[in-house]
């Protein structure tokens, strides 16, 4: 008896659930608004998604500092930083479109899954209208894809892989940071000039997407100048001891070692290479040289003495003398007591660029914002005249070639700028083979 009772109830329950399930989408469509997370009249929420734990936690902490500074400046606090040097004067320190800027933070853990979970909670729970940050290309690409689906703007933080604005580019994603191709294009002429055109290079490459695009870019840029690539060896990302990879370099006949490593990998591989005495070696009658294509101050600090004289490229450095950079370094230094890293710079600039685009567009609608950013030319943000190219949402600007300083004055003064490579020299066609494949798709305003 009780059995039939319960089954009937079960049938009713299933029926009700199915009915509700079928009814849901209709209710949903009727309540649709113009775009995801349209802000209210007094506040707008931005989502800062940075690695707070894991291998890039240092970069993440610096990014977060920059974001807090940017929010302060947007809301009219502090000394205004780059707002005064920015070529666009749309921002006046009253928030964005008269709304006070609020923010939420999250931890990407430098894992695509965690980063997406964190970004999702910002979008679904906190109503963030824009997501920004990150310190690895894998995360940037994952979050960029998510923002495209959810219908919010993604302003990439530190991501250097060609794929971010190459085969994985998305209409809702924008990158200010430079990329591997640009590193190669900027670095190769300086290498040829310093070390000659008749060199044999040996590559050690971190075995993942960023490493490969980095290696591909450097190989093609240096080979175009007459260098020969002796060998390219992939090293596992988790490796901490590179001795076994360094030893074969000595017998390969190569006279330049290129380390396509980032973060802790680079610190360890460079230290191993120096310990093996590579830098004192003479091969083919030339001094043996080491090159680190992507440099950051935080890495230079980790590698200590070993970086002296080693060439590489970076997006920005705090010792730049232009007005914008100085204004940024001043306000960052006043607030935190030390100069910002390149990660902090790109994140700060991205926030300003977003706010400016919203103001110029007069709307928070992601499609309007994207339109305002596409093909936008600006100046005064530390990298000279810059173009946000419409075809792939990549910024084109000068790239810095730097080298480890011989006599550093402080723990922050580790790199010196050797050359500022003009933007024309690092510009490529949107359908360049290294970037080919994906397409931007349609801008998605969500909801």
């Amino acid at each position: 008896m009780s059995k039939t009772n319960l089954t009937r109830r079960g049938v009713l329950r299933t029926g009700a659930a199915t009915g509700a399930g079928l009814a849901l989408p209709t209710i949903f469509t009727s309540a649709a608004s113009a775009f995801t997370n349209a802000p209210g009249d007094s506040e707008v929420t931005l989502g800062f998604n940075v690695p707070q734990t894991g291998p890039y936690a240092d970069e993440g902490a610096d990014e977060l500092r920059a974001y807090e500074l940017a929010v302060e400046h947007l809301n009219g606090g502090g000394d205004g930083g780059m707002l005064s040097t920015f070529s666009s004067k749309a921002l006046d320190g009253t928030g964005i479109l008269g709304r006070e800027v609020k923010y939420v933070t999250g931890d990407t853990q430098t894992k695509s899954d965690a980063a997406r979970a964190s970004a999702k909670s910002m979008i679904e729970k906190d109503g963030a209208i824009m997501i920004t940050g990150g310190s690895s290309s894998g995360v940037a690409i994952a979050v960029q894809g998510l923002c495209q689906e959810a219908g919010v703007i993604f302003m990439a933080g530190l991501t250097h892989s060609n794929d971010t604005t190459g085969k994985d580019k998305k209409a809702n994603g924008f990158r200010h940071f430079f990329n591997a191709y640009m590193s190669g294009a900027a670095l190769a002429p300086v290498l040829a000039q310093r070390y000659g055109k008749d060199r044999k290079a040996y590559h050690l490459t971190a075995d993942y997407t960023w490493g490969w695009t980095q290696e591909e870019s450097i190989v093609s840029a240096t080979e175009a100048l007459g260098w020969e690539t002796v060998n390219t060896v992939k090293t596992p990302l988790a490796a901490t001891d590179f001795s076994s990879y360094i030893a074969p370099v000595l017998n390969s006949g190569a006279d330049v070692l290129v380390l396509n490593h980032y973060g802790g990998n680079m610190v360890n591989s460079l230290t191993n290479a120096v310990q093996f005495g590579l830098r004192e070696k003479q091969v083919n009658g030339k001094n043996f040289e080491i090159v680190v294509p992507l440099y950051s101050r935080l890495m230079a600090r980790g590698a200590g003495e070993n970086v002296k004289g080693i060439l590489g490229s970076t997006n920005w450095h705090w010792s730049l003398q232009d007005e914008g950079s100085q204004a940024f370094v001043r306000s960052f230094g006043t607030k935190y007591g030390f100069p910002p890293s390149q990660a902090a710079h790109t994140c700060y600039v991205q926030t300003l660029l977003y706010a400016d685009a919203v103001t110029r567009a007069g709307s928070f609608n992601p499609c309007a914002v994207a339109e305002a950013l596409e093909g936008y030319e600006f100046d005064g943000l530390g990298n000279g005249p810059t173009l946000y190219r419409a075809a792939d949402h990549q910024c084109f600007k000068d790239v810095l070639v730097v080298q480890g300083k011989e006599n550093p004055q402080s723990e922050f003064d580790l790199l010196e700028v050797v050359e500022v490579t003009p933007a024309e020299q690092v510009t490529y066609e949107p359908d360049h083979p290294m970037f080919d494949g994906g397409n931007l798709g349609e801008c998605n305003p969500g909801a």
Partner: protein
């Protein structure tokens, strides 16, 4: 009902109720209030509760019943995700083919890994599974990049074949037209409740998974697995070959993990290699132990607990702390913020670690044991004066389903 005893039926119904009412239960604070930060009733997190609940239930079938501690279950999670995303790429965004494939491929993987690993027991078994999982991770991360898209993670591109994709097909995961991402929001006096299709899809599967595990726990097969945990040597001496049983348990729990991984990709169309890393395998072990290994409800509680900390505590930043403690005198405010700094935001791991230690030290049976103790305490107080001598009472063995 459903071939369960009365007590189990009630238990199952309670679980059903809790699962289906989650969007309401997890939203205890009204929007805009200070406590709103602690609300967890948004789709992504609720989906994670259900998915990791399934993962932990499956893991518990192996670890809780047979005592074999696998450190490689994340491999199946990853395999499941990749299967689903590949089905998106080849067919269309309907989740069903992907989920079926996820279960099948993870079963094949589990069979292969289990066949080798189960030749050893104890720590050797754990290390073998760990090695296999790390191998899968490294394969997915770099070697098999054409298949997995490496570090970047497998995504659907506009130029993928998607042969079943029609003109008006949804462009995100759906179940025969019901789009997973869609939800309906109901605002009741400041409380905002989000009922998400994806969550309910996961919830229904989670209930089925739970029911299945309940049946396994109560079956002769489950009894055999418990016998293996108690004393495998003795079982072997009776002339029984225990390996088919352990292998079956391993494959079943691998399929659960594959299903969970598939659901992750069904909610969010991306499969990343990190899902297979050993930290992910360790996480499910933590979930199970934190909640209570060998109990039915424990792993689900543990999964919810860890996911809550990961997603809610990690998002509390200094700014919020200042808002909360702003009313206090300056010195006190700074001191409190300084202290709480160690427990929220990027330090959420520390809070979780402390809680884990407390649970392991004081409640070796996990959160479930905590619940049982409270229940016993309440019951004990009620029973006082009934004339029973509490000192001379055979201790009731805790019901395995509690």
């Amino acid at each position: 009902m459903f071939g369960l005893s009365k007590k189990d039926t009630t238990f199952l119904l309670i679980v059903c109720f809790l699962t289906l009412a989650t969007p309401i239960l997890l939203q205890p604070f009204p929007e805009g209030s200070a406590g709103a930060t602690f609300n967890a009733g948004y789709p992504d997190l609720m989906q994670r509760f259900a998915i990791f609940g399934i993962f932990a239930i499956g893991f518990n079938i192996l670890f809780g019943l047979t005592g074999y501690l696998s450190f490689g279950h994340a491999a199946f999670l990853g395999v499941g995700s990749y299967s689903v995303v590949w089905m998106y790429k080849l067919l269309d965004y309907n989740v069903i083919p992907g989920l079926l494939l996820a279960i099948v491929t993870s079963a094949i993987f589990a069979l292969a890994i289990g066949y080798v690993s189960l030749r050893r027991t104890g720590i050797y078994f754990s290390i073998l599974t760990l090695a296999f999982a790390q191998m899968s991770f490294n394969l997915a991360y770099s070697v098999l990049t054409p298949l997995t898209n490496g570090e970047t993670g497998l995504q659907v591109y506009t130029d993928d074949p998607q042969i079943l994709m029609g003109e008006n097909s949804p462009t995100s995961p759906h179940l025969f037209g019901l789009v997973m991402r869609d939800s309906v929001q109901i605002d009741i006096g400041g409380w905002l409740f989000t009922f998400n299709i994806g969550y309910y899809f996961c919830a229904v599967i989670a209930i089925l998974a739970f029911y299945l595990s309940l049946r396994i726990f109560r079956s002769p097969f489950g009894m055999m697995l418990r016998a293996i945990k108690t004393n495998q040597t003795r079982l072997n001496y009776t002339g029984l070959n225990s390996r088919p049983y352990t292998l079956a348990a391993f494959v079943i729990s691998g399929m659960y993990a594959g299903l969970a991984g598939g659901l992750m990709a069904a909610m969010d169309p991306l499969a990343g290699a990190e899902r297979m890393q050993w930290t992910a395998s360790g996480e499910v072990v933590l979930m199970t132990i934190l909640g209570g290994a060998g109990t039915l409800m424990g792993p689900i509680l543990g999964a919810g607990f860890i996911k809550y900390f990961e997603n809610i505590f990690s998002k509390i930043n200094d700014n919020m702390l200042h808002q909360w403690f702003g009313w206090m005198p300056d010195g006190m405010e700074d001191a409190l913020i300084f202290i709480s700094h160690f427990f929220v935001g990027k330090s959420w791991h520390l809070t979780l670690g402390l809680l884990f230690m407390l649970v392991v030290i004081f409640l070796p049976g996990g959160l479930v044991e905590g619940g049982q103790r409270i229940a016993r305490w309440v019951r004990g107080r009620r029973k006082k004066g009934s004339g029973d001598d509490p000192e001379h009472h055979p201790k009731p063995a805790p019901h395995v389903a509690e």
